[in-house]
Symmetry: C2
Subunit: 251 residues, 2 copies
């Protein structure tokens, strides 16, 4: 018999080529599956709530995995996994959830996500923010940025805000329920919450919002981008190092 | 004629062998003096408020330097210096101060300093805290730590809390005016303020406070350590990576 474990995972994205398993290894999923393989001596599939790109950090990524029943306590699982992982990946919590086809599924049961995008807005990058935030040296108009954020709220076709062009297969309509810009000294945090985010969507939204805040894009142009049939994709993608998967929401 | 510049400097201490100039280079002072040399084409001495050890970070280190008068505006100095420094060292601010023998002196005029020591107190280190905090996995009694902190407040001979043994030449009496322990989730910040700190003193105080918080040292033993003639040095030195020079106070 098997039991299903739910994992809460934090990582520094910099040393890895993203969440998703790669042919040559080196992804976060690969390392976690490798840790299970070392403990169980058999190939084990780990199901994440979704991908994060190379360089993107996670404060609370969620995954599930099926393991032999009653093999270890949750505390032992956590310690055994961490002992077999690189320091930049840490299992924060392990719990038992309902397994099988009707059980908890890290990806299919997710109802939404929160991402935080961190920006350092000063002429020079702070030495302790390197790799943790995007360095934007230009003067930013936060009130313009917030007006643009309001336009993005709600249900839209975000086909122009993903590196995968929307096609018949992929539905590119998503709902953004929260988009806040919080400024503290030279640090700006953009907080995105929504029912789901397309590939590179948060980074392309951030890049575009910063263009608006630099007065290099009008709100009308942003509005055009939200009409996929009438417009080309945004050209502005913020770098991975400022992006943090902060929460995955479940019912 | 010369003018005197006051520099506010931040650095990530990890890539450097401390503040103090070294024969082979590689110190923060060496890099800043190198930046002045590139701009001025002549050897220039930079005077810091005091040393920080290898690996210790600074949020606001202070230094002064004498340069030819009216050569650049303060904004140009800041940019020219940063353009010639490694990313892990940043000049946050340059201002003009009174020069000459009666003028501002970064070291002699300092009336006190604030250091922050960051601890991550969990069985496993958080991936985004690596190199930024000391990982202490053991259970800590913060109320015992705070009782010990109260004992350290005020004027004491800290000869047992420095890597240099006190001798006739060096006065090891210092006054600690603030020692707070602030806990937020698994992160503990120790905040030290005082009129001055001996070589490795904050790290040795931190290491000793953690021993008390682990119930591995009694307050009576700590009290003994504060009587230099009756006791040996503390054996517990916290690592450099958790320590931040946060402020230098001037009249």
């Amino acid at each position: 018999m098997q039991e299903r474990l739910k994992l809460i995972i934090a990582y520094d994205g910099r040393p890895f080529c993203g969440w998703q398993s790669q042919a040559g290894g080196g992804s976060i999923q690969d390392f976690i599956e490798g840790a299970f393989q070392k403990i169980l001596n058999t190939e084990t599939r780990v199901h994440g709530s979704g991908r994060t790109d190379a360089g993107v950090h996670a404060l609370r990524q969620i995954a599930h995995v099926d393991v032999p029943e009653s093999m270890h306590s949750m505390a032992v699982w956590k310690n055994a996994l961490n002992a077999n992982l690189p320091h930049e990946i840490r299992i924060l919590h392990v719990s038992q959830v309902k397994g099988g086809d009707e059980g908890f599924h890290a990806r299919f049961d997710a109802t939404g996500k929160r991402y935080v995008y961190r920006i350092w807005n000063d002429l020079w990058m702070h030495p302790l923010e390197i790799g943790r935030a995007w360095h934007v040296p230009s003067k930013l108009d936060l009130s313009a940025l917030r007006s643009a954020a309001v336009m993005l709220l709600g249900k839209h076709d975000f086909a122009n805000f993903t590196a995968n062009r929307g096609n018949d297969v992929e539905d590119t309509v998503r709902t953004i329920s929260r988009l806040d810009a919080i400024k503290r000294c030279r640090s700006i945090h953009l907080i995105f919450e929504g029912d789901g985010f397309l590939y590179k969507m948060v980074r392309m939204l951030t890049g575009t919002l910063i263009r608006v805040a630099e007065h290099k894009m009008e709100l009308a142009e942003l509005n055009q981008l939200l009409q996929p049939s009438a417009s080309k994709k945004t050209q502005f993608t913020a770098p991975a190092e400022g992006l943090y998967l902060a929460r995955v929401f479940y019912k």
